[in-house]
């Protein structure tokens, strides 16, 4: 019993800096923003959900949210499909080509914008062409990472499985569709996660290309947040931040609860 208590104390001490990081750098700021989102004016008088109600009626916010959803509808399936294709091309061999494909993820926004402008000197960043350019930038930076995840999963498929399927008379296509593809499901989940995070990042490039007030088709959540920041409209911005955090973390909590048993795994 005493031994067990000492162990628990040791573990808690190890985790103290990390817990302090979570608390001070994320939870405390979140609490500050939450308080700000429920109040208004210099005195900070309590107004309940008034800021949220106004936010959800704000046309700029609705435009930004709609554009973001549309971008996801295009970008997420495309990066997963292209990633799968690349994973098949890259799954054999040294891994150096795959590493090259991953490298664009690390390129600073200013550089990727400069490269885009060098490749397409006459590019006008507006309308459907602008969305296409943004999509191309996103795929350039993100597909390599998806391909890495998927090719690791492809390599982990046991050879006995595919060999057995082939012995039972499955052709190469059936082997791929019925044996390997179902085993890739967790990797596709990882792809989706990486792409979601990447889609928030690509708005840096959108910002550098189109400025704070771009064409309507390109106005994203990023622009909305930044403009309200620049205008010091903190109550509205706080409401938007809290909403965005809840929207991203809420489904995450659901997924974690569903996966709880498989994530905990081995007990030490």
């Amino acid at each position: 019993m005493k031994q067990q208590k000492r162990q628990a104390l040791e573990g808690a001490l190890c985790c103290l800096p990390a817990a302090a990081g979570v608390g001070a750098l994320y939870l405390a700021p979140f609490a500050l923003a939450l308080a700000r989102s429920l109040s208004r004016g210099m005195g900070g008088s309590f107004v309940g959900l008034e800021n949220y109600r106004e936010l959800l009626a704000n046309r700029a916010f609705l435009l930004a949210a709609g554009n973001t959803l549309l971008f996801w509808a295009l970008a997420l399936p495309l990066s997963a499909a292209l990633g799968l294709g690349l994973a098949l091309v890259w799954q054999k061999g040294s891994g150096r080509p795959a590493a090259c494909g991953f490298f664009p993820a690390m390129v600073p926004a200013a550089c990727s914008v400069a490269a885009l402008k060098a490749l397409f000197p006459g590019l006008a960043f507006e309308g459907a062409g602008g969305v296409g350019a943004l999509l191309a930038l996103f795929l350039w930076k993100n597909t390599g990472c998806c391909a890495l995840l998927l090719s690791a999963a492809l390599r982990a498929v046991p050879a006995e499985l595919t060999d057995t399927a082939a012995d039972l008379g499955a052709g190469p296509w059936a082997c791929f569709r019925r044996v390997r593809l179902p085993l890739l499901r967790p990797a596709f989940g990882g792809c989706l996660l990486v792409s979601l995070l990447g889609s928030f990042r690509v708005f840096r490039e959108a910002f550098l290309l189109g400025g704070a007030h771009p064409d309507n088709a390109l106005y994203g959540l990023q622009h909305f947040l930044y403009n309200n920041f620049a205008n010091m409209n903190y109550p509205r911005l706080a409401a938007a931040s809290v909403l965005l955090i809840l929207i991203t973390a809420g489904p995450g909590l659901g997924v974690l609860a569903a996966l709880r048993h498989s994530l905990e795994g081995r007990k030490p």
Binding site: E10, A18, G21, A24, L32, L197, S241, P268
Partner: protein, 260 residues
Amino acid sequence: MSRPGKARPGGWALLAAWGAAGVFLWPLARLALLSLGGWGELLAQPGAFARAWAGSALVCLGCLAGQLLTGIPGAWGLAQYRFPGRRALLVCCALLVLVPAQAMLLPQYLLLQKLGLLDSLWALILPGAFSPLGTLLLWRGFSALPRELVETARDAGAGLFGLLGRVALPLCRRELAAFILISLADSYNQLEQPMAFIRDPELYPLSVWLSTGAYRNPALPAAQCLLSLLPLALAFWVLAGRGAVPGGQAHAILKRKKGE
């Protein structure tokens, strides 16, 4: 990791693999071509570039130090011990991975304002001093270490630092390399945070400074971009090489220890 008897890729497969990689490298090659006329001008007057670079380097190393100091013991504690609050911390880390940086911008601004740290490099280092993703990566690595190995090392008298430095971290090289790479790329590429937290253009890190200039010679910004990419490319080269070391050596070490 490689299967015995795995077929080596043929000529066509190799060509396809490098062709696909070429598509990803092509924009950078185009940028390099454009930059040819700009290097002379950049190297003749490197002052402002060097200052922004130094700021970026400080931010990167500060964030990395903070993330490693919080992340390594944190991941070890989460992986090897059971204590109240452990699961809550894990769930927090996992959820924070999902939250986009932009959503934390105002919350962190409010905190920095309270602390009086706005308009300094601390405003860029402090919010980046803990990495939920890096901690989770290491946690997975540490959790996969064979239990006998850790116990053997403990019985041989290894303390916490010995265990971490000489057993756990060397075996989790890949996770550590990925952690460091993600950390460096993230803090080197910060854009929203400096724009929101810093007013003084003299303090801008390279990522922001690159996007603020206006030049008559289009080759100059291209050269600046490529030069700014150089440290990241070097880090990528070194760390991607480390990450390629196959895992699974734990069992070999364990066998040797048992043999002694």
